[in-house]
């Protein structure tokens, strides 16, 4: 039986939710922006797209293109809840789903589609349920693999449904620009153009040796992509994370080291409480710093004994900061813990203080679990700013990548 994969992509997700929430925004050009002082467009309605408003633009540029553009501050809690509810709808049709991002999911319906009247019937049912429950539209792409399912949904947007069957591949891909394929970015497209390859048809027919010479081991994969082939399976079960990290764009760029350290404590606490919640300890601690001009760098330290203790991670990350000569104001900072391994509760503590610290952290975690984040926290938090949270691209409705979303 050949695989049948479905890609479900919400149409202008954040903007559609906001238009559904507020009837006065329906049918109007709107753009969703972050809740901090920084005003970059995270998504925009189809009415705004018609004016050329794009994701990533600042509001000044966007308003120049569309003077009537309505700016709406995004509400991450609504989007995260909607994503979780969408996954419940998908699971009615198959247990094999991959929530790829907050507004995109892949479903493997190979073995269940016959129970619901076939792939198109499932697609239309899901579209109807999403519309009935949330009032928003989605587009469904169906194909034998995720690459072509994604392409099908891109072609059918907005509010469409398209099924690409294996026999349609050649005709569809012949004149399709390579950059329209999922996974081929502008840099790769540019390199392909240097080889005289502009369309998927040309890519699929290009000699593998030519592509290997230019791109190394992914050369062959690119050739297969040009033929509409893809062997990536859905990630149905969440793999153990390679790292646990949090970063934040500060409301304003800062250079005061004490202020940065206060934010580092907050980030260390978030990282460690998530590591403890899911039973991980890590050996490598990484500090990420982004300056005002977007120049970004990381610096790491490796612990002798893996840890998930907030104190230990914070002190190490503070030491890293102390070793850096800051050359500009800081825009973003991040802390992550990697080289993760399962925490072994039975391991004997060498020092009694470690055991005491563990007990305190356990008590703090359990109180915060019961009464909400930061019910018990460090007094130094009082020095920190209320940074708006941003949904990480890796956010998932469940598991270790499910971080608490706050506006």
């Amino acid at each position: 039986m050949s695989p049948i994969i479905m890609c479900i992509d919400m149409d202008a997700f954040f903007a559609s939710v906001e238009q559904q929430v507020n009837p006065k925004l329906r049918g109007k050009p709107i753009a969703v922006i972050g809740s901090g002082g920084r005003t970059v467009i995270t998504t925009r309605s189809y009415e705004a797209r018609a004016f050329g408003v794009k994701t990533g633009m600042n509001t000044y540029e966007a308003k120049k293109l569309c003077p009537d553009l309505i700016l709406v501050v995004g509400d991450n809690e609504k989007y995260a809840h909607t994503c979780s509810e969408l996954s419940i709808i998908y699971r009615k049709y198959t247990p094999d789903i991959e929530i790829y991002s907050i507004d995109e999911a892949f479903l493997d319906i190979t073995t269940t589609q016959h129970l619901f009247g076939g792939p198109e019937a499932i697609g239309f049912s899901i579209k109807k349920e999403v519309k009935d429950q949330f009032g928003i539209n989605c587009t469904v792409g169906i194909a034998p693999n995720i690459l072509m399912a994604k392409l099908a949904s891109d072609i059918a947007k907005p509010d469409g449904l398209k099924w690409i069957k294996p026999e349609d591949n050649e005709t569809l891909l012949e004149d399709l620009p390579v950059k329209d394929l999922w996974g081929i970015g502008s840099a790769t497209a540019e390199k392909l153009e240097q080889l005289g390859i502009r369309t998927c048809g040309e890519l699929g027919k290009a000699p593998a040796s030519l592509l290997r010479n230019k791109f190394g081991i992914i050369g062959e994969t690119l050739k297969h992509m040009g033929q509409g082939l893809c062997d990536r399976l859905l990630t149905v079960r969440e793999e153990d994370p390679k790292s646990i990290g949090h970063s934040m764009t500060l409301p304003i760029d800062i250079s005061d080291r004490e202020a940065i350290k206060a934010e580092l404590l907050k980030l260390s606490s978030m990282v460690c409480s998530r590591a403890r919640k899911y039973g991980f300890v890590g050996k490598k601690i990484t500090l990420t710093v982004r300056y005002s001009d977007f120049v970004t760098f990381t610096k790491q330290v490796t612990l002798q004994v893996p840890s998930n203790s907030t104190h230990e991670i914070y002190h190490n990350v503070s030491d890293i900061l102390a070793s850096i000569r800051l050359v500009d104001k800081v825009r973003l900072i991040g802390v992550s813990l990697s080289q993760l391994m399962p925490e072994n509760d039975d391991q004997m503590d060498l020092f009694a203080t470690d055991a005491k610290t563990k007990s305190v952290l356990k008590a703090v975690d359990s109180l915060n679990d019961k009464f909400g984040d930061s019910t018990i926290t460090w007094a130094s938090y009082l020095k920190t700013t209320e940074s708006p949270s941003v949904i990480s691209p890796a956010w998932k409705p469940s598991g270790v990548r499910n971080t608490n979303i706050k506006n």
Partner: protein, 79 residues
């Protein structure tokens, strides 16, 4: 405008976990809900908070129902 006042709400509780507010009384004034435009849920510790974006046709309100204390709150309004 952020508010945070407790309110009295007339609502239909159906299954499964379906809550539909019909009207609410705030500062002695009863407001009929014409449309529940969106609903979502958040957690505060182990407490479930149900949020409702509702309109009377002119103004948009956000109401919250605390499933532990069974209290309703008006969070905000936007004329």
């Amino acid at each position: 405008m952020r508010i945070g006042d407790d309110i009295t709400v007339l609502a239909v509780f159906g299954m499964p976990f379906h809550i539909k507010p019909l009207s609410f009384t705030w500062s002695g004034r009863t407001i009929e809900i014409r449309e529940v435009t969106y609903t979502w849920k958040t957690k505060e510790g182990q407490k479930d908070l149900h949020h409702f974006s509702v309109t009377d046709g002119n103004t948009l309100y956000e109401l919250t129902f605390d499933a532990v204390s069974l209290l309703w709150t008006i969070e905000s309004l936007e004329a």
